[in-house]
Structures are given as structure tokens and as C-alpha cells.
């Protein structure tokens, strides 16, 4: 037995190092346990005792370091390893950019889908009911281009992505959550329209749109988990520009989507006169524009705080 204080201490370290792989963590905990045991025995011998006392363990544990400090060291070391990896693989690693490319490609495809839908509906029904999907499609295509450009510009390597920190993680989670909420919203709207107004041809595209958004949201949240495994790493020095860019991009995306939704509202009202069907999109647009503005203001605020530091 190494004493209760040691068990508590090792448990704390285990919790603090939860970004580390289970294998590495287990090895380090075994070594720390052994280290404490060895040192406590040495100290006990120096004091003429046969067995270490609880006080000796407390003293030894203090020398080993606070769990949070050990976690910080792990964070620093892992950041350096990532930097090292980044410098050696930055120019050749392209596989790590898959997710932003995929997001861009999905947006592009969705954009083309909505634009083509516009033509189909216009041809089949001869109404303006489906017209709103053209700007939505265009907005998605712009977003797709932005995402692909973003992948090339901001995320040069997988190693760099691994070193990202809290702000980016939050943004990715937020993006995922927003997409899922929007997806649920559009899917719910489909039901309401179908049941309430029987206008299936108008609302039909919203179900796949909703499902796509939910899947993209789930992928984004999964991506957040995969890219940012380490809590200790998140406590590291903040790469201010990266965080700012992410927040700015989030804001711009929200504003574009908001404009797109608000635009849909106007055209539908004006052309089709079906106020009831298009009604939910105006508040959604306004909410998205507000979110975007808040995100941009937040990015500016962070930048100023960071500069002052």
C-alpha cells in the first residue's frame, strides 16, 4: 500500500491527463506510483523509520508536483510534438484537410441541388413558390467555396489541427449544434407544411435539407472530438489568429445564411403570397444575422484582449 494520499493524488492526475492515450496514461501512473513509493522509502530510511508515514507521502507527493502542473507540462510537450510534426509534414500533408474539403463539397452539391430544384419546380408548376431555393443554392455554393478555401488557407496540416485549442473546439461544436438545430427545424417545417397546408411540392426539398444538416452537424461534432482530444492541450497558449479566423468565419457564415433565409421570406411572400409557409424563415434569418454579428464582435473583443496581454 502506498497510502491513501497517493491513491487520491494518482486519481487526480488520471483525471487531469484525460487527453492522453489510455496506454500512455497507464504507463505514467504506474511509474509515478513507483516513484512515490521509492522516494517515500528513501525518506523514511533517512528519518530512521521502517515504513513511510502518511506525512512522508504528503511531502513526496508535493515534490512530484500538482496534478494540474503535470497536465500543463503534458500540454506543452504535446504542443511541441505537434509543432515538430507540423514543420516536417506541413507541405506534404493534405489528407488532414479532408473534413473542410468535404464540407465544401457538400455545400456545393447542396447548392447545385437547390438551384436545379428551382428549375424543376418552375417548369412543373409554373409558380414562384420554389424560386427561393435559387438564392439558397447560391449561398450554399459560396459557403462551399469559402470552406474549401478555408481548408487550404487556415489548416495546412493534420498536425496543426491537433494543436488547436479551446476556442476552435467551441466553434466547431457550436457549428455542429446549430446545424442539427437547423436540420430539426427544417424537418419539422416539412411536417407542418405537409399536414397543415398540403403543399407537399413546396416543402418537399426541406426534409433532405434538414437531414443533411443534421448529418453534417453530427459529423462536425464528431470532428470536434477527433481533432481536439486533450483538455490539457486546450489550456495551452492561445493561437489568437486561428481562433479569430474561426469565429469570423462562423459569423460570416451565420450572416450569409441569415440573409439567405430572410431573402427566401421576401420572395415567397411577394411572389407566391403564401405567408403561412414562409413565415418561419424571417425570424430564423434575423436570428442568424444577430448570431453572426455577435460572433464577429466576439472575435474583435478576443483580439483586443489578446493584444493587451
Amino acid at each position: 500500500m502506498t497510502g491513501k494520499v497517493v491513491d487520491v493524488y494518482l486519481n487526480k492526475i488520471e483525471r487531469e491527463l484525460y487527453g492522453m492515450s489510455a496506454k500512455d496514461k497507464s504507463a505514467i501512473l504506474v511509474e509515478l506510483d513507483r516513484h512515490i513509493r521509492d522516494k517515500a522509502l528513501d525518506v523514511a530510511k533517512e528519518l530512521g523509520l521502517e515504513e513511510p508515514t502518511e506525512e512522508i507521502y504528503v511531502r513526496v507527493v508535493r515534490d512530484v508536483g500538482q496534478p494540474v502542473d503535470i497536465a500543463k507540462e503534458y500540454m506543452k510537450v504535446s504542443m511541441k510534438e505537434h509543432e515538430l510534426e507540423a514543420t516536417t509534414t506541413r507541405e506534404e500533408t493534405v489528407t488532414g484537410q479532408g473534413m473542410p474539403y468535404l464540407a465544401g463539397a457538400v455545400s456545393f452539391l447542396l447548392g447545385i441541388f437547390f438551384i436545379s430544384l428551382e428549375e424543376v419546380h418552375s417548369g412543373s408548376f409554373g409558380t414562384v413558390k420554389a424560386r427561393p431555393f435559387a438564392p439558397l443554392g447560391l449561398a450554399l455554393m459560396i459557403l462551399g467555396s469559402l470552406a474549401i478555401g478555408f481548408a487550404r488557407w487556415i489548416i495546412p496540416s493534420k498536425a496543426d489541427r491537433s494543436a488547436l485549442i479551446q476556442g476552435e473546439r467551441k466553434m466547431i461544436y457550436l457549428g455542429g449544434a446549430l446545424m442539427i438545430i437547423m436540420g430539426l427545424f427544417f424537418s419539422a417545417m416539412q411536417s407542418i407544411w405537409s399536414n397543415g397546408h398540403g403543399a407537399v411540392e413546396i416543402s418537399h426539398p426541406l426534409l433532405p435539407f434538414g437531414v443533411t444538416l443534421m448529418c453534417t452537424g453530427a459529423l462536425t461534432i464528431g470532428y470536434g472530438h477527433w481533432v481536439f482530444p486533450s483538455r490539457a492541450a486546450r489550456r495551452g497558449p492561445i493561437e489568437l489568429n486561428m481562433r479569430q479566423k474561426m469565429i469570423f468565419l462562423g459569423g460570416v457564415m451565420a450572416i450569409l445564411l441569415g440573409i439567405s433565409c430572410a431573402f427566401v421570406q421576401n420572395i415567397t411572400d411577394y411572389g407566391g403570397g403564401r405567408h403561412a409557409t414562409s413565415y418561419p424563415l424571417l425570424p430564423l434569418g434575423i436570428a442568424l444575422i444577430s448570431l453572426g454579428a455577435m460572433a464577429i464582435a466576439y472575435a474583435i473583443w478576443i483580439h483586443r484582449s489578446g493584444t493587451q496581454e
Partner: protein, 125 residues
């Protein structure tokens, strides 16, 4: 104010130690006559520096893991000389020796530059 000074001093000390500690640990492992393990390495560091190298002992294990990830050292579990549970022993790799040689040379160069600057500036006074 004193708190700020202490923070600055602490940060400066950490910055100066960065990199330096890796070289020291590699050096201790490579020059050890006995198989190296964490506690022994820490004790050696304490003896070699007369206890003046203030480090949190736990962080050495993180550093060892990092050096192993970089393939500068390798490790294996072996029986303990004093009995008890097995220990993890560390050995320097061929790549680790190369890096150590380069690191020592860089370190000497930096120390030389630092000494020159200090002695010349002090000579002006």
C-alpha cells in the same frame, strides 16, 4: 508588483529550461552505468546539480514519454533490482545519440555566445 515580478521570473526560468531539460535527461540516460528509470534519473539530476535544478518530479515522466514518442529513447519493463513491481527502464536510441551530440554542441555555442556578450558588456562598464 512583486507578484508580477515573480511571474516574470518564473516564466523566464521556464523559457530558459525549455529544450535544456531534454538534453540533460538524454545526457543522464546515455552516460548512466546502470539501467535508467524515472526515479534514478531524477536522483541523478539532483546529485549532479547539487539540488539546484528545481523541477517538478512528475513532469520528468511526461518528458520521458515525449522523448520516447520522438524515438530519442526507448523503454522496456524489467524486474526491479530491489524487488517489488517491475520498472520501466529507458535507453537512448541511435537517433537520440545524434540529437544529443547536436544539442550539446548547440548548447555549448549558446553558452559561449552568452558568456561573450556578458563579459564584453561588463568590460565596458
Amino acid at each position: 508588483m512583486m507578484g508580477d515580478l515573480e511571474k516574470i521570473r518564473s516564466k523566464m526560468e521556464k523559457d530558459l529550461k525549455t529544450g535544456f531539460l531534454s538534453i540533460i535527461v538524454l545526457l543522464v540516460i546515455s552516460r548512466s552505468n546502470k539501467p535508467s528509470y524515472g526515479y534514478r534519473i531524477i536522483k541523478s539530476l539532483g546529485e549532479l546539480t547539487d539540488g539546484k535544478l528545481a523541477i517538478l518530479e512528475g513532469t520528468i515522466y511526461i518528458l520521458l514519454k515525449s522523448l520516447e514518442n520522438q524515438e530519442l529513447i526507448s523503454s522496456y519493463w524489467g524486474p526491479s533490482e530491489e524487488g517489488g513491481p517491475p520498472r520501466r527502464y529507458y535507453e537512448i536510441t541511435r537517433q537520440g545519440r545524434l540529437i544529443l551530440e547536436i544539442g550539446l554542441q548547440e548548447w555549448k555555442n549558446l553558452t559561449d555566445i552568452q558568456n561573450r556578450i556578458i563579459s564584453r558588456l561588463e568590460g565596458r562598464q
